[in-house]
């Protein structure tokens, strides 16, 4: 069977056999069934795979959170013991940060960046596939520790000495360290790929300042990843060498400086915070204009404030370390920098609000989540500013006040933004509209649940309840409004409401898949390029590559100014699409499926197993990787033209990637 070219031709030609890529192995060519997913290099399929995997880990991380809250629901909790509790909060954070929010944002980026810039795929489709598999295997690897002697238990920032073999003798932290190395490789290759895609693969006329804002925010995020991931890589290597090969990098008894880990971790960790939130900022900056029927207020300000957050984000890491005795000068500098970074963030909030101002607001579920983000993120942002005041921060360090803060910005911010994106883009990806009524319930239960869970934590924290405390007793609960017991129970009830809210989303997915409303071509009257193709998009995205002449190109093709300066509709979405179809490229050769990405990615956890248990296993893994790399290097990314069906003369073929 040959590789079918897109769009498939009506004429049936003699099947050609794909040339072999390494000796006996022939290229995979299935266009249906599991093979079409496992060996795919299509950015849309990979985007869905990223998001589906991330959603799975969201459920895992959510269950861990519920167990934590159940343990703290009543005095002398018996749900978890101290040891298991430590593993639970460590893995909850690790899962939510590295295995849910990051890959979910990566999934959206994968799916929508090429569509938004008018490209047919990413710059390096095979690297893209490799990135997904590395993320998946890394995620599985970290979680395998549950079944192999216990998970990591040092907290997600894994400070020394808790990360050392004395305080954590199980292999949990080894799994954690090596698993994060693997997902780190996925992030790094993703960053190289997506930056190259954005810079190099834009449609004609798609200048940087005409790019949809989601793509812009993702570009900033990918630069942050590009430079932040190697720093955590160093830190994780040092920790691995300490735990597995007897080095003493963070061991105070041997004269080491435990602050080294803290610096390395937070030089990565603070940009990481913006890696988590900026994609959601991008999503709602798409959603708000569409449902306000107005262009985004101050597009350049939103772009440059995003870039500014990207820059200043590198100069604030030590505000995580105010309690460690850095000295007055460092503390002062990082305090001021932390206050400064609130400015570009505030600019964004103002821009969103001004976008809403005077708009014809349409309260779809996507819009509700977007507005939810503005409100909840602002609450979390304000408590964040209180952390820049070092004396107050020193008081709050390692209390529930911090827990309250970062859940408002990450749950109320990042996750609400992602949910806004789900409801907004679902018809684009699957061709069906998520149920709005169920979505409204989903939204309100999440809002109520999240405020009930994380709101009281401000009180708990200011009253001094330590973060990571595994049990509380009646004797220490306090009285009246400041009764810690009451607020802990209250928060636990909130977390159950939150769970029901999220559950409704999952139910919504099932209901929509079974008998959801088929989405019209342009269900939201949208503005950007990803809507200028069918739902779901064709495999080659666009029949002909559009030439871009405006920010919000799709809107400007549909609407033009009349004599009175009013925007009036001149074309329907169907007509716009028809124009592209009429000029369709005759033969489009998409990047061809490949075995090698998954083979190389499969070698990585094998190497990591060997690092923990026995070096010869690592060598096997190394051989797998090397074999995969050679297969990859020898095989061209897009199969030769005569492997395609129908055979074509090279002249009229458009090559992608």
């Amino acid at each position: 069977m040959a590789i079918i070219e897109r769009p498939p031709s009506t004429e049936v030609a003699t099947p050609a056999t794909p040339s072999s890529s390494l000796g006996a192995l022939k290229r995979p060519v299935s266009t249906t069934g599991w093979k079409s997913w496992v060996f795919t290099v299509d950015h849309k399929k990979l985007g869905i795979m990223y998001s589906a995997t991330a959603l799975f880990f969201f459920i895992v991380g959510g269950l861990e959170a519920v167990l934590i809250r159940l343990q703290l629901a009543a005095p002398n909790g018996k749900v978890l013991n101290a040891d298991l509790y430590n593993q639970m909060f460590t893995m909850h954070a690790t899962t939510m940060v590295f295995l849910f929010v990051m890959p979910m944002a990566a999934g959206l980026a994968n799916y929508f960046i090429p569509l938004q810039i008018g490209a047919r795929d990413v710059a390096f489709p095979r690297i893209n596939a490799f990135g997904f598999w590395a993320f998946l295997f890394g995620g599985i690897f970290i979680n395998l520790s549950w079944f192999m002697g216990g998970a990591a238990d040092g907290g997600w920032f894994m400070y020394a000495p808790n990360s050392g073999p004395v305080f954590s003798p199980s292999h949990g932290i080894d799994f954690w360290t090596l698993g994060l190395q693997i997902t780190g490789i996925a992030s790094l290759t993703g960053a190289v790929n997506l930056i190259t895609t954005v810079l190099n693969m834009r449609a004609p006329g798609m200048k940087l300042m005409r790019m949809p804002i989601f793509t812009w925010m993702q570009l900033v995020v990918q630069f942050l990843l590009l430079f932040a991931v190697p720093v955590i890589t160093v830190a994780l290597f040092l920790l691995s060498f300490q735990r597995n090969f007897g080095a003493t990098f963070f061991d105070v008894a041997s004269g080491a400086d435990p602050l080294l880990w803290q610096h390395l971790f937070w030089i990565f960790g603070h940009p990481e915070v913006y890696i988590l939130i900026l994609p959601s900022f991008g999503v709602i900056s798409e959603v708000l204009p569409v449902f306000s029927r107005k262009p985004l207020f101050g597009y350049p300000f939103v772009v440059f404030s995003g870039a500014a957050i990207g820059f200043v984000g590198w100069g604030v890491w030590a505000h995580h370390m105010f309690a460690s005795g850095l000295g007055p000068v460092s503390v002062a500098v990082f305090s001021v920098a932390t206050m400064a970074i609130a400015v570009p963030t505030g600019v964004k909030v103002v821009n969103w609000t001004m976008t809403l101002w005077g708009g014809k607001l349409e309260f779809t579920v996507a819009m509700k989540f977007a507005i939810g983000l503005i409100v909840l993120f602002t609450i979390g942002g304000l408590s964040g500013v209180t952390h820049s005041v070092a004396p107050s921060d020193t008081q709050q360090t390692d209390t529930y006040y911090i827990v309250a803060h970062f859940h408002y910005v990450l749950f109320g911010g990042a996750i609400f933004g992602l949910f806004s994106g789900f409801y907004y883009w679902w018809p684009k990806v699957f061709g069906k509209l998520l149920n709005e009524k169920l979505g409204t319930w989903n939204f309100w239960l999440m809002v109520i649940g999240m405020n009930m869970t994380f709101g009281p934590m401000h009180i708990l924290g200011l009253q001094g309840q330590p973060r990571r405390m595994y049990v509380w007793t009646e004797q220490r609960a306090g009285e009246g409004f400041f009764n810690l017991g009451f607020w802990n129970t209250f928060a636990s009830i909130g977390s159950l409401i939150l769970t029901v809210g999220v559950l409704l989303f999952l139910i919504n997915i099932v209901i929509t898949a079974r008998n959801g409303k088929i989405a019209p071509l342009d269900p939201w009257n949208a503005r950007s390029l990803e809507w200028m193709t069918s739902n779901p998009p064709k495999e080659h995205n666009f029949d002909s590559i559009p030439t871009v002449s405006h920010l919000d190109e799709f809107f400007h093709r549909k609407y033009q100014e009349d004599a009175n300066g009013q925007m009036v509709q001149v074309k329907t979405a169907e007509q716009v699409l028809k124009e592209l179809e009429d000029n369709a490229d005759a033969h489009i050769h998409m990047p061809s499926p490949s075995y090698w990405p998954i083979i190389i990615a499969l070698g990585l956890p094998v190497i990591a197993f060997g690092m923990i248990y026995s070096i010869p296993i690592s060598i096997v893994g190394g051989v797998i990787v090397l074999f995969g790399v050679y297969g990859w290097a020898i095989e061209p990314s897009t199969a030769p033209d005569d492997d395609f069906d129908p055979p074509t003369t090279t002249k009229d073929v458009v090559h992608v990637g």
């Binding site: 430079f227 060498f241 007897g246 990098f249």
Partner: protein, 210 residues
């Protein structure tokens, strides 16, 4: 700082859009080359982290030998010189590749790989000598951070050698002369980067007194 540079590059790159011409890409730079530059930007922070660790710990020798007691500066200078010369031969390889001269490309790539192997051989010899003088991986914070930093660099050189040897093999399979010129150039970028990093490491470890 690298972020600044990269952002600057982004914005400069964006300027070219309006220019006409038959550029295949928006920036005019091929995807492969841009990707390699980005990767090398990331590598700067990898080595930045390792160098910082070494600089923090280089004075903490504990019971073990001090840097000045083990380092053999003339020997390492010679192997550093060999590595620097390999950058020259790499340039000649890239130049031959662009002329479509596969024979000379093969020749210079092979010589570059051999010079790189000489450097790695020197490093292995040096590590063995240090070990015999009582400086093991776990002897002191200085020794651990020294081996990690120079070891990571050595691994990078080794990966470079593997890529150089592979491209010789791949070029033999290819039927059109000069068709792998861009791949040779990309390996060249990587190779020069690894050399430049060595200049920094050599200066900081061997030449600047602790």
């Amino acid at each position: 700082m690298w972020f600044t540079l990269a952002e600057h590059a982004v914005i400069t790159a964006g300027e070219h859009d309006t220019g006409h011409g038959d550029h295949h890409t928006s920036t005019g730079l091929s995807n492969n080359k841009l990707g390699m530059w980005l990767f090398l930007g990331s590598e700067c922070l990898l080595f930045g982290g390792l160098i910082s660790t070494y600089m923090l710990y280089r004075g903490r020798v504990g019971e073990g030998p001090r840097p000045s007691q083990v380092f053999d500066i003339p020997f390492t200078s010679v192997s550093s010189f060999v590595l620097l010369m390999s950058s020259l031969t790499m340039v000649l390889a890239v130049s031959a590749a662009h002329k479509g001269d596969d024979r000379n490309t093969n020749l210079w790539v092979t010589i570059t790989a051999l010079l790189g192997a000489t450097f790695v051989g020197g490093q292995v010899y040096e590590f063995t000598a240090f070990y015999n003088e009582g400086m093991g991986f776990t002897t002191s914070l200085f020794s651990s951070s020294f081996y990690v930093l120079t070891g990571f660099h050595g691994v990078h050189v080794t990966v470079g050698i593997i890529m150089l040897m592979s491209i010789v093999g791949i070029m033999k399979r290819s039927k059109t002369p000069g068709s792998k010129a861009e791949t040779v150039e990309m390996i060249g970028l990587y190779w020069h980067f690894v050399d430049v990093v060595w200049i920094i490491i050599f200066t900081l470890i061997y030449l600047v007194p602790a």
